[in-house]
Amino acid sequence: AQTVTQSQPEMSVQEAETVTLSCTYDTSESDYYLFWYKQPPSRQMILVIRQEAYKQQNATENRFSVNFQKAAKSFSLKISDSQLGDAAMYFCAYRRGRGGSNYKLTFGKGTLLTVNP
């Protein structure tokens, strides 16, 4: 079974600084997708960034980028120029590739990010 581990229950960063959230996963599959979701307080989870395992290039979305290390099964999220609105719970998630269980996301426990002004 796939597992996703986020080893940092809480992180804090100063506004305008850079922070990296860690995520590791365990799978025997070679084809899969990885996601970072953000959940602001009392709001719904929204997708921040997505990485296809077959792509070597790290995904980037504006101030958000990932460091995907497939061999190490590591998928960290870097937030540059942190803003107050980035404060949220961040979840790392895994989804199998083609064939079976295409619908199921496996989540980590989350990292609560605080942004200090």
Partner: protein, 115 residues
């Protein structure tokens, strides 16, 4: 911007009572999901639903749970006889497609407290 809505936001119930959690997915989405998060634990997959039937369910989704799309807009999760361990935040999600890259859109969640 369209979004998934869930009601109620918080429900308190007595052990053994039936509970129905409601969700209105995004209107042109075809795949629907329920996840739950027990306090302090991971968000866990419960069930996915497509074409008026369950497409996948987890081991958590036992006979006490059922899902239904009673009309063209609502997607419900019913817990027949609640247990203390059913206390959790329940998230509904929907996606336009069931493909690997189909983005899931989540609701804000319904907090269930079983006393």
């Amino acid at each position: 911007e369209p979004e998934v809505t869930q009601t109620p936001s918080h429900q308190v119930t007595q052990m053994g009572q039936e509970v129905i959690l409601r969700c209105v997915p995004i209107s042109n989405h075809l795949y629907f999901y329920w996840y739950r998060q027990i306090l302090g634990q991971k968000v866990e997959f419960l069930v996915s639903f497509y074409n008026n039937e369950i497409s996948e369910k987890s081991e958590i989704f036992d006979d006490q749970f059922s899902v239904e799309r009673p009309d063209g807009s609502n997607f419900t999760l019913k817990i027949r006889s609640t247990k203390l361990e059913d206390s959790a935040m329940y998230f509904c999600a929907s996606s336009q497609t069931g493909t690997n890259t189909g983005e899931l859109f989540f609701g804000e969640g319904s907090r269930l407290t079983v006393l």
